[in-house]
Amino acid sequence: MSVERSFTRIVESLPPTIPFVAPEALERQRGRALQLRIGANESNFGLSPMARAAMVQAVDKIHWYNDPEGFELRQALAAELDVDMSAVALGAGIDELLGLMVRLFVEPGETVVTSFGAYPTFNYHVEGYGGVLHKAPYREDREDLDALLALAQKVQPKLVYVANPDNPMGTWQNADALQNFIEALPSASILLLDEAYVDFAPEEALLPLAPDGARVVRLRTFSKAHGMAGARIGYAVADKEIIAALDKIRNHFGVNRVAQAGALASLADRAFVLSVVKQVEEGKKAYAALARELGIEMIPSATNFVALDIGSGERARALLQALLARDVFVRMPGVAPLDRCIRLTVGPATERKVFAEILREVLPQVG
């Protein structure tokens, strides 16, 4: 037999690196537990008690396959969003859905547009399927719709990626601007609108769900406001033809039984999500005050995290390391000029207090 060139050319060409180091890997490398895990935008407000109860109950039937259609959850989402069930698909998180979208639309060598410094997992999938990325820079810490549009018109991409609200900066687009952007996109381009943080967004950023036929895929998740990142469950809302095509290629049993039950219950527990959003709002105010006190700028955020402007990439990297030395896990954007910031998840008051104390101590050390 021959294993020379076992892998496909695409896989052969991929770097062995992953987009980011997991907190578990940090702990293993350092041989020490983290004190604050505020780098991955996980919700630090826990799980809806209703979701918890539903999940505990769902454990009774785990020797059976889960519902591959995710019928009940899709039905509930459709009712909530006032769309037809055929416009909704489930996935094991937005991350999985991003990969499936690339697989659905992008042949090897075809082009895709995103922003420098935008969500790296999307890029990972594009490269994994042999797509070619073109990137537009941010402008004033926001994804620049004008630049993205100009680039799209130039390279005629299959997919355009925009996160609204954005990660890593936490900024947002107005719905009107997005609507104009969508209308101006080349006719062969689909917009992937990543709305992982939509629960935290202000009214003005909420784009109404598009009518049938629109070339927009909305991606949402239970990982953030619902506090279920560990269960892996997200969904796509799009034209039913896109959802039908997705249905051909998705991992049909990919959202496990317990996660489906938990998401269904969490969706019904509006009070829980609202309270999370409210506490995150308070937390952002507290961090804004901390930033003022320390003479640094906090970028206004429509998400569950904030970007603190540390002045330069060098200083931000030094601060990241200094924080890690104190067992605090935060992350930072990968490219200039965004990399002058560190990004931290907004958690409850106790957690903020610990962070504030450590930041007050280490910030002066980074010069």
Binding site: S6, V11, G46, V59, L104, G230, K248, R257
Partner: protein
């Protein structure tokens, strides 16, 4: 809109999963689940894990689970990858080793999900017909193949090929050999040691069957480290959720219970098979938690489609395949509890007497 999709996907037909009625009024003998729930210790661990920690992303390296798998199966953890069901691992394998138009070979009939996964990738499926007794086809070593899938025990026949034949095939083929051992715990077989002897061997397993965890979607694969490294490059980072990691770890700690359940299933299988022969069916020698029963000559006047429908009316689900033609006179029956099996047999006796 449709012209926007990749051509191979636009051309594909949709996948139709097996019937999964979510109400409990059925005796489900159609999707090869284990009739015995996981041990209480696993359920307790899982219920305990339904807590606030679910806000955290899972460990993308599945470090703890891979270490445990390594211990239990005497394999280095560098030689292990875990997936969101073995279905995901099959998909990762195809993406890793077969590009568009590349040949992927499998003996047929077999597990029905290989073909859709091959189509999604735009690779070329090369099915090779099994002989009537489901022994190894002579012409399975197809020149230029990038991947050869071998479900062993095979679905839907339940038949098992011996290690020596699998190893010889592995040495002979082009590309990688994927031995899909979803049902191996119900057999005397097992090919994990292939990965130490052959650079092109991948052995895939699942916790859906013997470990009674179908609803948690846990698959794992063993392969030489070099192959695992490449597969890792296309894996979704957070593919295996926290709950499934916990369930899998607990299941391995309670592996004796799995073995006891498997032994019970094998006993029931033997009893069911014997009785089906007496009723006039032909039953292939199954080493899995299901068996394939053909309507024998003494049952002239009966047909599989009707029996399937009549059983369903009695709220017993078995699997009927309209296609391929060689399966159209067969029923695939998952092994249930003794009581479920008795109910099935009683219903069949009545239907066949009518």
């Amino acid at each position: 809109m449709s012209k926007l999709f990749r051509n191979n996907i636009a051309a594909m037909r949709g996948y139709i999963p097996g019937e999964q009625p979510q109400d409990s009024g059925y005796i489900k003998l159609n999707t090869n689940e284990n009739p015995y729930p996981p041990p209480p210790a696993v359920l307790t661990r899982l219920r305990d894990a339904c807590n606030g920690d679910l806000r955290l992303y899972p460990d993308p390296d599945a470090h703890v689970l891979r270490a445990k798998l390594g211990e239990v199966f005497s394999v280095d953890s560098q030689q292990i990858i875990v997936g969101n069901g073995s279905d995901e691992l099959l998909n990762i394998i195809i993406r890793s080793f077969a590009g568009e138009g590349d040949k992927i070979v499998y003996p047929n009939p077999t597990y029905g999900y290989y073909k859709p996964l091959i189509d999604i990738q735009g690779a070329t499926a090369v099915p090779v017909e099994f002989p009537a007794d489901y022994s190894l086809p002579n012409d399975l070593a197809v020149p230029g193949a990038r991947i050869t899938f071998l479900a062993n025990p095979n679905g839907p026949s339940g038949t098992l090929l011996p290690y020596s034949q699998v190893a010889a095939l592995c040495a002979r083929i082009d590309g990688v050999l994927v031995v899909d051992e979803a049902y191996v715990d119900f057999s005397q077989g097992g090919c994990i040691r292939l990965i130490d002897e052959h650079r092109n061997a991948i052995v895939v397993r699942t916790m859906s069957k013997s470990f009674s965890l179908a609803g948690m979607r846990i698959g794992f694969a063993f392969a030489p480290a070099e192959l695992i490294t490449g597969m890792w490059k296309v894996k979704d980072h957070y593919n295996l959720n926290r709950l499934s990691l916990v369930a899998a770890e607990a299941a391995l700690e309670n592996i004796d219970v799995m073995r006891a359940h498997a032994a019970r299933v094998c006993e029931t299988r033997q009893r069911l098979s014997g009785r089906l022969f007496e009723l006039g069916f032909y039953v292939w020698d199954s080493q899995a938690n299901f068996l394939l029963a053909r309507i024998g000559e003494s049952l002239a006047g009966h047909d599989a489609a009707t029996l399937y429908a009549q059983l369903k009316e009695r709220r017993i689900l078995v699997r009927y395949f309209q296609n391929p033609p060689r399966l159209a006179d067969c029923l695939r029956i998952s092994i249930g509890t003794d009581a479920e099996t008795d109910a099935l047999l009683a219903a069949l006796e009545e239907l066949l007497a009518a």
